[in-house]
Symmetry: C2
Subunit: 237 residues, 2 copies
């Protein structure tokens, strides 16, 4: 079956901008729905009876924010999330999302390398669709560990260090990094052409008209579900 | 089976206050999760293949806000919602939620009485747990229509005009009003003692510790679900 049309990084940024200006969405709303869908994808991959401990690696931007929201929902689903969030972005939203987790006594660690040895699953919410260029400190060692570890990984929107349009990096810490699963938010990005694992789409908040305007396909959500599994490279299952 | 312990109006107000102060939640986040659970309860009651047209009656406060969010999700689920929102509260959030619906071309009507004759289901998001005293204009005729119509109704948090602690009114427009279904947000309110229909709980954002502090039971959510059906008077099914 034909792959869903993808959403490039410029179009994805323009769409977010439109949703928050003329669309009148707050980032709190969008991130809540996106983060919930990440947590529900995790549940579909492996419930807490199988994978109780989840290490959630969050970057400084909105991808990290999605991870912070996902971790809160994971707690309510019965998981034990541990957070790695070494560089907090300036937006006060990140502090609020962090406080929400602290209130639930979700632990934060500074030592990703030790933590990955004790977890059942990792959520990679380090870099999203706005990533390009070099991986900055302290993330090179983290991404190298993700590439080398046998622990399964669910990547949010993009495997961190992958180029959004050109896929896996040819050098640097992410060489050989191929996560177990990916959740594309709103729509798959062009990098899915190189992705080989289980693939979900979440972030169910755009209309058919918006999808047409930005040239992507609405994911085949079922019923009232907030997440749907599609083929690894974006084709409908 | 024993009924879940309920949450009185003062405790519910104090809990909301705590979530938004030390809990660091924004009202956008809480309302997004609450409204999504209302839309998912609607889907469990009757999918869009059976009940395509939903009339969503929204009051001026947070209960109305939950209805506005629910309607947006209903649109994405394939329903055709129509909004009755005659008195918009001052918080700018209501304008944003309204704009989000207008962008989806969801119609707003001023004529509830005509609209109820053309709909498959009504969502009553007029008054919530902070209601007490008299039903003010223009809602008496609306509530009278809800009490007299044969169209099924899903009430959000409380059947509008019911006293939160003492249940159905003994006089006024709501006499005889017994909705088909109710979704209690966070926890059932004391009025469920008099409720006889299908009963859901949604708004999955509090921890066991918070539930203990406020003296209610966490609803028996399954897996990653955001809504759960319980017995009409709050007992586990």
């Amino acid at each position: 079956m034909a792959a869903l049309r993808t959403l490039g990084p410029k179009a994805a940024a323009a769409l977010d901008e439109e949703l928050m200006s003329s669309g009148a969405f707050s980032i709190d709303q969008l991130m809540e729905i996106a983060g919930l869908s990440c947590a529900q994808a995790m549940y579909l991959l492996s419930p807490p009876t199988k994978s109780r401990n989840i290490l959630v690696a969050c970057g400084p931007g909105n991808n990290g924010g999605d991870g912070l929201v996902a971790a809160r929902h994971l707690h309510h689903f019965g998981y034990r999330p541990t957070m790695y969030f070494p560089k907090q972005g300036k937006n006060e939203l990140y502090q609020r999302l962090r406080t929400q987790l602290e209130q639930l006594k979700v632990p934060f660690t500074d030592d990703f390398i030790s933590a990955i040895g004790k977890t059942d699953y990792v959520i990679d919410a380090i870099f999203g669709f706005s990533f390009s260029g070099e991986v900055r400190e302290p993330f090179p060692a983290v991404i190298k560990a993700l590439a080398e570890s046998k622990v399964p990984v669910l990547a949010v929107d993009a495997p961190s260090s992958w180029n959004i349009e050109e896929g896996p990096p040819k050098d640097g810490p992410g060489v050989g990094y191929q996560p177990t699963a990916l959740i594309s938010l709103t729509a798959p990005k062009p990098l899915v052409k190189w992705f080989k694992g289980r693939h979900f789409v979440g972030g169910r908040f755009v209309s058919r008209e918006i999808a047409e305007k930005y040239g992507f396909d609405l994911p085949p959500y079922q019923g009232s579900d907030q997440v749907v599994e599609i083929g690894s490279q974006g084709e409908k299952l």
